[in-house]
Symmetry: C2
Subunit: 364 residues, 2 copies
Amino acid sequence: MPKINPYEVEGKIDYNKIVEEFGATLIDDNLLRKIKHLHPLLRRHYFFAHRDFDKVLHYHSQGNKFALVSGRGPSANMHLAHLLLYNFNKYIQDEFGAFVFVPFSDDEKFMFKQELDFETVQKFAYENALDMAAIGFDPKKTEFLFDLKHMNQDLYNLSVKCAKRITLSTVKSAFGFSEQNNIGSTFYPAMQAAHILYPTVKYGLPSLVTVGIDQDVFIKVTRDVAGAFKLPKPAALLSRFMKDLGGGTKMSASKAETTIYTTDSDAEIKAKIMRAFTGGRETVAEQRKLGANPDVCSVYEYLTLFFLNNDFEVENLRQECKTGKILCGECKERLVCHIQKFLTDHKKKREKAKQTLHLYTKTD
Amino acid sequence: MPKINPYEVEGKIDYNKIVEEFGATLIDDNLLRKIKHLHPLLRRHYFFAHRDFDKVLHYHSQGNKFALVSGRGPSANMHLAHLLLYNFNKYIQDEFGAFVFVPFSDDEKFMFKQELDFETVQKFAYENALDMAAIGFDPKKTEFLFDLKHMNQDLYNLSVKCAKRITLSTVKSAFGFSEQNNIGSTFYPAMQAAHILYPTVKYGLPSLVTVGIDQDVFIKVTRDVAGAFKLPKPAALLSRFMKDLGGGTKMSASKAETTIYTTDSDAEIKAKIMRAFTGGRETVAEQRKLGANPDVCSVYEYLTLFFLNNDFEVENLRQECKTGKILCGECKERLVCHIQKFLTDHKKKREKAKQTLHLYTKTD
């Protein structure tokens, strides 16, 4: 059985099964037809499931505003999968005029990870925020909030209200907490619920959350709380995971060797990609003859998720791979080139973001 | 077996046994001799136990400042036992020049009591604060903090730090929480610890807490946390309970019939005292012959704790009671007269406090 919850993702995942188990809904063509400019990550089902996204689209089509909530637990530097998510968030802002709220749960990371102190989580929060500011969100429609720096009465009080509605029994079964967890960790789901409902309570905007499927349980808990408060239940767009470079299920910031950080140098990028797990064969001759497997290949995944916006190009690459026309080394070089270029540009924007970051926080 | 914890006090209590069980220390004459002006509540062992109060006295004798922390959970109006405590706190401020910090845990009361909403706990917090301001603390050396109104980054972050050090298992055994408690209630001990350590972390003042013995477990938990942070462990003066008017162990603000609120009218005071439980006999004749029992008498308790500052007067009353020289009706009338006079004066000061309350909060 695969394990999948906010604190653990393990094993081979059948995404369709999970959606059914979690009680979310698969995103189908019918839903996608309602969107004017379809983002590749929607078209290619990286975001493959949702909760009430149809309602959000309807609400928006009536001329109403909504907020996108997409939080970040700053326990490490950002990697490519994070950038993918926040690039997508920028698209949601552009396409729907959404207000983007990014809560940084530095408090959570401090409480969950024995080895992290305030200084470290706050440093990561700052570094992560630079990556986000580099993406170019509209400062007038964007708010970053660092729990350990910007905790305010509205958010604290909202977390207290949420906490009253969530029992220990609920969080234990939902998140797998034990008696040895600290009382901050078990409280945190209330703060997360408050993060999600913050734009609704403070600005009157219903919330849409973009998040990995492993975090869906937070959405479920928050939807229950919102129901009790007679607030609109937060909607969600749920993504599958981005493979790590070792072929593992989910890129993780804590595994440096199989992760591309936004701050990696050209040399690091090259070294990591050249070592990456692919769907290739043992020998060139074999691969030419039998073809390779793009479905398990991390290099194919990154090329197609990030860099090939044209679906024909993707299909072309897929056929070349499966028929042995292209070798893994070629794909790797292509990917190295793309990532180096992309991150060189990103790093420049990231440097400039040091001057603009304050525009995204209300109280700095 | 008597039950005694922050959420339940039941049964006949052997205070000496409790002190031993809790690991606190009885206050003895040796300790009391070190205090210049001895308050009656110390001399008469209403405050009967302590933790490290000897260290506080020594620290003070070296010319150092300390803070007195004495919080209030505002779930009802204040009653006489509360006034007794805060009058004593005023004495500590006067005698030792202590900085007085009063955190109002309106968040706690909201989370613990299903029926209380924000408006109600905040109204009680305001009403309770008026009682305290009426006592006349020095505004320059006093700070009131309402969690739901003044939560600030320092306090929130301190609670997060404390939370990391306290496991679910600890609060379950210390406070008797179950799976059905909400995650706000189980988090609250971290906020309480933060309240206690706030003057130490923010102003560099070691903390002394004045509190009922039922709350001692909060002190114990906080002392452990302080130890882990290499901060001075908070000291405590621990009081026994003030009887309720029905002869019960502890006056409780939730039992209106056996409690004198600071806002009771003269008629209410009279009605409640005249119905009070005493140590008297069935008939006058019997009482004249056999005498009564002051040790179980709520009227005797209130007279001696509040109104008879002179120890000879107390001893005199005790003898008159035990030998049947005085009848319960006489004591009751005497007490009614004292309380009415005392509360008439208090209510005037309380009314004036509406103009001065803001002096006690840093951010209003």
